[in-house]
Amino acid sequence: MSFEIKNPKDKYDVVIVGSGAGGGMTALILAEAGLSVAVMEAGGDFDPAKEEYRTQMRWPWESPRRGAAIHRPFGDFDAAWGGWEIDGEPYTRKNGTSFDWFRSRMLGGRTNHWGRISLRFGPKDFKRKDQDGLGDNWPISYEDVKPYYDKVDKLIGVFGSKEGMENEPDGFFLPPPKPRLHELYVKKGAAKLNIPVIPSRLSILTRKINNDRGVCFFCAQCNRACQVYADFSSSTCLIKPAMKQGTVDVYTNAMVREVLTDNEGKAAGVAYIDKKDLSDKRIMARAVVLAASACESARILLNSRSKYHPDGLANSSGMVGRYLHDSTGTDRMGFMPALTDRDIYNEDGVGGLHVYTPWWLDNKKLDFPRGYHIEYWGGMGMPSYGFGFNMDTMRKYLTDNLGNPSPNGGYGKALKNDIRRIRGAMVGMSGRGESVPQYDNYCEIDPNTVDKYGIPVLRFHYKWTDYEVRQARHMHDTFEEILTGMGAVLLGTKPTAETQYGLLAPGRIIHEVGTTRMGDDPKKSVLNRYAQAHDCSNLFVTDGGPFVSQADKNPTWTILALAWRTSDYIVEQFKQKNI
């Protein structure tokens, strides 16, 4: 499960830790500039085009657990090798607080199974402090990142529609797919409330963008990773072309434990555990780029203690691990009487939502400071484990042609038929919002615990504030309004203050960022505006760590754009012989 590296080099120009969105983009841009690159991946090789890894276009019965999420958190066919818990790789939590940390140990990391929601941050997202006085502004603006968003759109491909909304910048879009039936109901219901519902923006190729990647054939299975590379994952769209340049070596099963520094405190390479034989190895390089994920990169820095960097590398500010923040999230479901007894047709579509709601309100008129977007789900997708459940409470929503409801529960032919009738009648919505980054939400090194490789593990301390809790309450009010407006029966009960209005634990949305934030003041930030460490000029971070604030957008498109921008800067530093 690993690449054979024919001629490992004694020293590379750059060693990159991580092969996800940030690492993949960095590898590609540096390789195209002719630099020699080592990419360190803690997991195994992965390529969805290879039959041995393929979960796409499988039937539920091919899994003995029918796709149940018993071992893989997003179901048995999901592409992620990992999850919130990994055997032998623990993490801990401090003072009864919560944080759940999702890791995928595989080439391409979490990009293999993510939702492909590819939203640009808008001009306001980079300058939140200017608007509400909370947190900090980014040291850069939308105008600095825009050219890179444009390039990412064209290189990788994203569908969407030009809407001209100020804080939802338009890009170079491929045409979006038409809405599904339940999505038309969502549009209709939301329109009554003046809530916008627009085509979603997903990095899925509805049209070809080059001859290396195929075009979407509408199986709705992007989370299983696409064998024709019609969706974006770092392994297929970045690492693969980077390796074609001929200057990139990918080391799989290489668990980096620290950044090595030289006599002057400069980064000199990395030390890693080769998982194949549990030996401790080294890779030397002129520059080091961390792209191991916000928390893993912070862990590596904090574990890289030396004479010059006694508190961990690049941590003279004490900010490494601080300002950790995830998106907020909560969900609600409804039952659509109008969508029972449906006509059968192939409604799979692309992998995910065809429409979504961008943030549409003014926080100055609300009791919480930051916005959220809404994702919608439903439809006649492929039945999987869980389909047919809950007829003990759901069956009563079915009525016969005289309007008499079916009894809950039961058995036999009538039950069997009611399960057929209920298929495709469920709709749901998920709010995903921006939290306010807090100094007191952080990860640090646990003094008492190591993982199975002997590497000290992270300990998390994270609490939501009233800002996020009030936002979740607002989400649920909105969900009920939209569901009711579209003619749905509300399922379950509205969560209350006791459960923080259904606000999911931090880490559950898997948008954690901010642990090595950028800024102009070396006392308050880890990195400068190019994601170069203030304390160490040949060390860079290109994952979600540099984010100052997360916006109510998914982070991947911004990770990609910033990684490209930093990579251009690194190439320039090599040209000027600063590295």
């Binding site: 019965w61 066919f77 809405p179 039936l181 006509d343 059968i344 459940f389 058995y411 038929n417």
Partner: protein
């Protein structure tokens, strides 16, 4: 099983990868072939599945009871076969081992059922007549009308209903029954016109204008400098 039969089994299934596990339980051959599905499993997952597939959870009597319950819940009808026709008991057997939290409620629930039958008819469930069995099932199958002293039985039957229904409708027979026509290359060009009409819905002009047209899918995309997709 002799070795040749063994090999044949290994080679035959196009979806199944053969996996040989040495168990030493057969005197003639130490190898028992377990047919393991191959669908992008990691080595750890393959090991886990092969281990639990070689184990047996239900006793013969339990298994028989499960089969009867499955077919009460999902019987054959004019459209498709029954739960046992679709292999649901095998699925339930697997789930007991894959998700051990099911073991106590299912095994205990089967015992509850036997205790109840014993109280009423002096026999275990499988030894009861069909009509006697159904008297007990009727008392636990309708959660909203069941008497409070049946609550544990209701809970057990709810679980059996869930597992049987999901096992059936995720089987090849169940998927065919539902008429699911996806999981294959498709051209998604929106909801069929007649369905839209039935629901009183339509695509507005702007949606039709911006959305994908099937004939352009394979043309390499290009944009003008303002990000407008060039559509010809």
């Amino acid at each position: 099983m002799d070795r040749r039969e063994n090999l044949k089994w290994l080679i035959s299934g196009s979806l199944a990868t053969g996996f040989l596990i040495t168990t030493g339980c057969k005197e003639t051959s130490p190898e028992v072939a377990v047919s393991l599905p191959a669908y992008g499993r990691t080595p750890e997952e393959t090991l886990h599945d092969s281990k639990i597939m070689a184990e047996q959870f239900f006793t013969e009597k339990e298994r028989k009871t499960i089969e009867i319950l499955c077919d009460i819940i999902i019987p054959a009808d004019e459209k498709s076969g029954s739960a046992t026709d679709a292999g649901v008991p095998d699925f339930i057997e697997f789930m007991m081992k894959d998700y051990p939290q099911f073991q106590l409620p299912v095994r205990g629930g089967l015992m509850w059922l036997n205790n109840e039958c014993s109280k009423r008819f002096g026999k275990e469930f499988i030894d009861c007549s069909e009509s006697d069995r159904m008297l007990v099932i009727e008392d636990i199958a309708w959660p909203d009308n069941a008497s409070p002293e049946m609550s544990q039985g209701v809970k057990f039957f709810n679980l059996m209903r869930n597992l049987t229904a999901t096992g059936f409708f995720t089987s090849e027979m169940g998927i065919k029954d539902l008429g699911y026509v996806g999981n294959r290359p498709n051209e998604w060009d929106g909801v069929p016109e007649e369905v839209l009409k039935k629901h009183g819905l339509s695509y507005d002009a702007r949606t039709l204008e911006v959305c994908l047209k099937m004939e352009e899918r394979n043309k390499i995309a290009a944009w003008d400098e303002y990000g407008n997709l060039i559509r010809t």
